[in-house]
């Protein structure tokens, strides 16, 4: 389903300074798998997620999702691809802090201009599923870290995407909330989503429902 072929990603910091984030890596994920990318900060895990979500383009190589070369997509097509296929839970959630819970969650639906009833049904479903319906009118910046994460997960899920990506999902959570997140992850896995989690939290490495743990170090895959 997802193939990364000979991917190299170089960040050009200035004229003479560049950082090789990924160095000619190859990966292959099947539909419905839950993959954990582990590694220290700056190892290149987040860059892999960003390339799969078409948030950035590789310096060389190809990202292929469902036989489509998404690494070559023009900006507007990349946005459409994300809207239809990707649910991204960012490390710092990337919510709009001054918007309410429901307004944050419906953001991926807005460009498609769905009928109001359809939007309401989808919104109610995800809010129920992730237990935040009682907070729907609250402003996001007033929520706890765990609640913000639920909002981020609900937003990632509202379009019912095939692929869920989570970048350091437990980095800002205590142990109890981390375990709550793992429960949600299991639910998502059971609904046959392809899930890719980048983390250095050991909590994820021995989970029985994780299909693959891939270690990244300095932009390379550790065999």
């Amino acid at each position: 389903m997802i193939k990364l072929k000979n991917i190299t990603k170089i960040y050009q910091m200035n004229k003479n300074d560049k950082v090789i984030a990924l160095n000619n890596i190859n990966l292959h994920f099947k539909e419905g798998e839950l993959i954990v990318l582990k590694g220290s900060s700056g190892s290149g895990k987040s860059t892999i997620l960003s390339l799969i979500a078409a948030l950035s383009k590789p310096t060389s190589g190809e990202v292929i999702v469902d036989e489509k070369r998404i690494s070559k997509l023009p900006d507007n097509f990349a946005a459409l691809y994300r809207r239809e296929n990707i649910g991204f839970v960012f490390q710092k959630y990337n919510l709009i802090p001054t918007l309410s819970v429901k307004d944050n969650i419906i953001q991926p639906l807005i460009p498609a201009n769905p009928p109001e009833d359809e939007l309401k049904v989808k919104l109610d479903n995800v809010m129920k599923r992730f237990s935040i319906e009682h907070k729907k009118d609250l402003i996001v910046r007033n929520l706890s870290g765990g609640e913000q994460q639920r909002v981020a997960i609900a937003r990632a899920h509202i379009n019912n995407p095939k692929i869920i990506i989570a970048d350091e999902p437990t980095a800002n959570l205590d142990e109890k909330l981390s375990l709550d997140f793992i429960k949600i992850l299991k639910q998502l896995k059971e609904s046959n989503k392809t899930i890719i989690v980048a983390t250095h939290d050991p909590l994820f490495f021995d989970l029985d429902f994780v299909d693959k743990v891939i270690e990244i170090y300095n932009g390379n895959i550790v065999e």
Binding site: K57, N94, T98, I110
Partner: protein, 395 residues
């Protein structure tokens, strides 16, 4: 058309405006003020231009003045007989008019002497003689005054009559018999209309003399020709055509236009400073929000549409408020302060009314000078932020 508009984007835009309420309010206030100033200047300018144009249209075709040693003197009324004999001349009327300096108020009144049964050389005077019987006025010396004159006299406790001081130092008491409407004629505000003989007494003029003679010709193309014939007939006169007067009025308005232009440039300059400030970039929070929206599937088009709605709502509301305020300020409150800059040559600065002129072009001009420029200044930096790599924008 309406079904193509994504109302969620419009709602999002309204939400964005409300979220940044202090910033939005500040921009709206500044924008409203500048639109108000620009529109007010245009409204005042249009009204005055209309006023002057109507004045110019009502000017006599030819004026004949007696000149001695380069100065104007009273002219003999019997010259009219010879002028009327010229081919193409329809009418010639002796005018009795002048200025009276009212020292207490430091203003000049325009004195106009009319004869009830003569053809009047101005439509406004025809209206006055139809409304007020000047012959009746003359039995008990009285006058009809413009609103400006009436207010000045009232302010100086002359509520029923006024004592003119004649050139020989004696007084002439004249009752105030009526006030004529001055909402159309800019020039009529400072006018006092009396029976011709009383006007002559006040100005110390002989009965067989007049201030000047106005001539009406049948064919406007013949004006110059007839003017030159009159000049040949009376070498001691100055013959002025309405074209000469138009040039004179235009010069006055050009001077006013200079002030108008200065205010206009200041307004535009301030507006462009705001625009420059806005287009010079978005805050890091705004850039991040654009990045987040792109990350969740918004295209660059979606983001630009939302920013368009945001800018349009703010600028259009400010434009409407500015126009409404300008309308109220100019046509209801008669443009205090600003009016004094534009009106005031030899006129009393009292009750002159700016006539309402609806000019759709002015509204369009102000719209196109403000709203699209503001929208562009909002969209361009948003477009710059929306086209950088999404990953970089949210990092």
């Amino acid at each position: 058309m309406l079904s193509k508009i994504n109302l969620y984007l419009v709602q999002y835009a309204i939400g964005s405006i409300l979220r940044a309420k202090y910033k939005s309010l500040f921009i709206t206030i500044i924008f409203t003020f500048l639109t108000f100033l620009l529109t007010s200047i245009f409204f005042i300018s249009n009204s005055i231009k209309y006023e002057l144009n109507s004045t110019v249209e009502s000017l006599p075709q030819i004026i004949v003045q007696k000149i001695k040693a380069g100065r104007q003197y009273d002219i003999e009324v019997n010259n009219i007989e010879q002028i009327l004999e010229l081919n193409g001349v329809v009418d010639a009327v002796a005018r009795v008019w002048g200025y009276y300096y009212f020292e207490n108020a430091g203003v000049n009144f325009s004195i106009v002497g009319l004869n009830q049964y003569e053809t009047q050389y101005k439509k406004s005077f025809t209206n006055i003689v139809e409304k007020f019987n000047l012959d009746k006025l003359s039995k008990n010396p009285s006058m009809v005054v413009g609103q400006g004159v009436y207010k000045v006299l009232n302010d100086n406790y002359y509520t029923k009559y006024f004592n003119f001081i004649k050139p020989d130092g004696t007084f002439k008491q004249v009752d105030i018999a009526g006030i004529f409407d001055s909402n159309i004629q800019l020039e009529s505000n400072d006018v006092i209309v009396l029976q011709q003989d009383i006007a002559r007494q006040i100005m110390g003029m002989r009965e067989d003399m007049a201030t000047d003679i106005v001539v009406k010709v049948a064919n406007p193309k013949e004006i110059l020709m007839i003017a030159s014939k009159i000049k040949l007939m009376f070498p001691d006169t100055r013959v002025i055509t309405n074209e000469d007067l138009k040039v004179s009025y235009d010069n006055i308005f050009d001077y006013k236009s200079g002030i108008f232009l200065a205010l206009f440039i200041i307004s535009l300059f301030t507006f462009f400073i705001i625009i420059y400030d806005k287009s010079s970039g978005l805050s890091s929070e705004e850039k991040r929000e654009i990045g987040i929206l792109k990350a969740v599937g918004w295209t660059v088009d979606d983001i630009l549409k939302e920013k368009f709605y945001e800018a349009f709502i703010i600028s259009f509301i400010a434009y409407l408020l500015g126009v409404i305020l300008a309308f109220t300020f100019v046509y209801i409150f008669q443009a205090p302060i600003l009016r004094d800059i534009f009106v005031g040559y030899s006129q009393l600065k009292t009750t002159f009314e700016l006539p309402f002129i609806f000019d759709i072009q002015t509204l369009f001009l102000v719209f196109f000078l403000s709203v699209p420029i503001y929208i562009a200044a909002t969209i361009i930096p948003s477009w710059k932020s929306a086209t950088i790599e999404t990953d970089e924008a949210i990092r």
